[in-house]
Symmetry: C2
Subunit: 198 residues, 2 copies
DNA sequence: GATAAATTGACCCGTTCCGTCAACTTATGG
DNA sequence: CCATAAGTTGACGGAACGGGTCAATTTATC
């Protein structure tokens, strides 16, 4: 699924080389600046013209579909999988909130996924739905274990993530220490009345 | 300070009438749609051409300065004053957070103020700083009374408000019940968790 | 070196709104 | 009533931003 480059039917050699370059440049640009980065910039980094991105990949949506696996899918699914394996509902929720917020800070592209920019990209939407589904089970487990604030719905939980995505996308980046401190306050608001038993 | 219209030097009668119309239309449009509403729309509502807004008020910034008092200043200062008169640090903070979030929901223009869109408007910036200053004292009082989460800074508190402004501005509006429920979770995260003397 | 594949720069597009100006209209006072 | 200055306005150009396209050119391949 990840690190592709292995898909090139009867393409001419130069075309194959360009597809590869574009792929590499797109992954880097998307990871650093999010999925809305100008195609011109990707093209320049790949030493290729913008038109080639259209010819080979079919514009931004095609490009996103082609590289999203290397941009965010791995990390996002990784966070979810890691969270799944954490024992204890409270610990699992705390771990996940910290991990997803950290990922949102590091990788602007996750926010584009969560916010469903580019709804024409099927893979992006699939990823987004996977996240939503996980949030549902997390909240359900949290309530079953009685560790979540009364009345907190899966949508409330999801909104937490979306609000953070919007803040990071449209506001200025706080320093990491500030951000992490605020993560703790967010957690305190949803994660049951009892504090860490330390 | 509020409901002006009383400022018209040697203007011709039609000009005075237009200033008044523009004023009224701007207050309504700004309150309903925020300070970024197209000037064309205000002009249309005032049955006047866009150019007249430039002639009489000097464009968007002049217009904002002219009407901000009737758009948000009253309500915003009202919330702060009401909060000031609430006894008890915890109660004061809870009151303020609920009130300001309610205002942000009802009046998109407050968010434009808090986010400092239109930094060229002196009055807007003054309002914004007034808010920031109040946040400082609120947090200081909260810590003095030991009712705020450990380590919460004035900036953290302010960021809470800004994040909400961004979410409301760039995200979809949640239903009021959803929004109010989430207000409670936000409060829970900062307002000393159920005062558990540990 | 013929030929089809591929690339590309230059181009136009759409969006959105701001701000301006010459030409026109209207209020005013004598 | 009309001269004149004050006021209004529609039409215009502009900026910012990036998407998407195509005729002309270059390049790989046999």
């Amino acid at each position: 699924m990840a690190s592709s480059t292995g898909s090139s039917p009867g393409l001419r050699s130069d075309a194959r080389r360009n597809v590869e370059r574009i792929h590499i440049a797109a992954v880097e640009a998307f990871r650093e600046q999010g999925l809305a980065v100008p195609l011109e910039e990707i093209a320049a980094a790949a030493r290729v013209s913008k038109a080639t991105i259209f010819n080979r990949l079919g514009g931004r949506v095609g490009l996103i579909d082609a590289v999203i696996g290397d941009v965010v899918a791995g990390e996002l699914r990784g966070v979810i999988d890691d969270a799944r394996s954490v024992a204890g509902a409270r610990e699992r929720i705390c771990f996940y909130v910290r991990a997803i917020r950290d990922l949102q800070y590091r990788l602007p592209a996750v926010n584009d996924v969560l916010l469903q920019e580019f709804p024409d990209s099927e893979k992006l939407m699939a990823l987004c739905h996977a996240g939503g589904a996980f949030h549902e089970t997390l909240v359900a487990e949290g309530h079953a274990a009685g560790v979540l604030a009364q009345g907190l719905t899966p949508d409330d939980f999801h909104a937490l993530t979306l609000n953070n995505a919007l803040a990071l996308k449209y506001g200025g980046l706080p320093s990491k220490p500030d951000y992490d401190r605020r993560t703790a306050f967010v957690l305190g608001g949803i994660c049951g009345p009892v504090q860490r038993p330390s």
